[in-house]
Symmetry: C2
Subunit: 127 residues, 2 copies
């Protein structure tokens, strides 16, 4: 198995461990000094223990499914379908793996719905 | 050059053609029936001609740089730094390529800044 195949496997396992609330499995994928970054709120969490805690404490009955995993060498991009009750949202996560095969950085984006600007109705269809 | 390397090249060329306003170069990367999807506004644009027009008409002095391209077979994920005047934003775009090597689908996410919810200050640092 080459590096890309290993990265792809780690990316799938990351989403699955979160969905199963399997904190030991999640921790086993993370480097001790993993950094979790949320650029939209300019929040950052440093360290495996804190990041696992963050997920354990995260409120709501959230569910995650990987819609798409794109892996290339030590990088992966995750397109994640997130469901919290009746709300559905797609998230984008970027994973960096280090030499030891563990996740060293996670960057999460949570794009919210918004109303489109006027002026492009002639090019666009709404769904 | 294998499929992943070709996809990576197309993904870079996509961002560069937009940044240069090189509409002929952009069109040459797109399948005639390309679908451009913005899930946050539930807007969809169908067809190469309309999608090029959409970019030509897009208001503001916008600038794009690929921060990261992750390519895997016929899929690419693009992490794009967007600058419009003094505003900076990161976008996530997902590209699908078809058999002919052209882009058949683009899904764009535009994650906006927001205020973090209370209750996780003990785990998080702000920057």
């Amino acid at each position: 198995m080459d590096q890309t195949a290993r990265t792809r496997e780690v990316a799938h396992a990351y989403v699955e461990s979160l969905e199963r609330r399997d904190w030991a499995a999640l921790a086993a994928l993370l480097g001790e000094d993993v950094v979790y970054d949320m650029p939209q709120t300019r929040e950052r969490i440093s360290g495996r223990e804190r990041y696992v805690r963050f997920n354990q404490d995260y409120p709501g009955d959230w569910h995650l499914t990987a819609r798409r995993v794109v892996a290339d060498d030590r990088y992966a991009a995750l397109w994640i379908d997130v469901r919290v009750g009746d709300d559905e949202l797609a998230a984008c996560a970027w994973l960096d793996l280090s030499d030891d095969g563990l996740i060293s950085r996670i960057t999460d984006y949570w794009p919210e719905p918004y109303e489109p600007p006027a002026g492009r109705e002639h090019l666009v269809e709404r769904y």
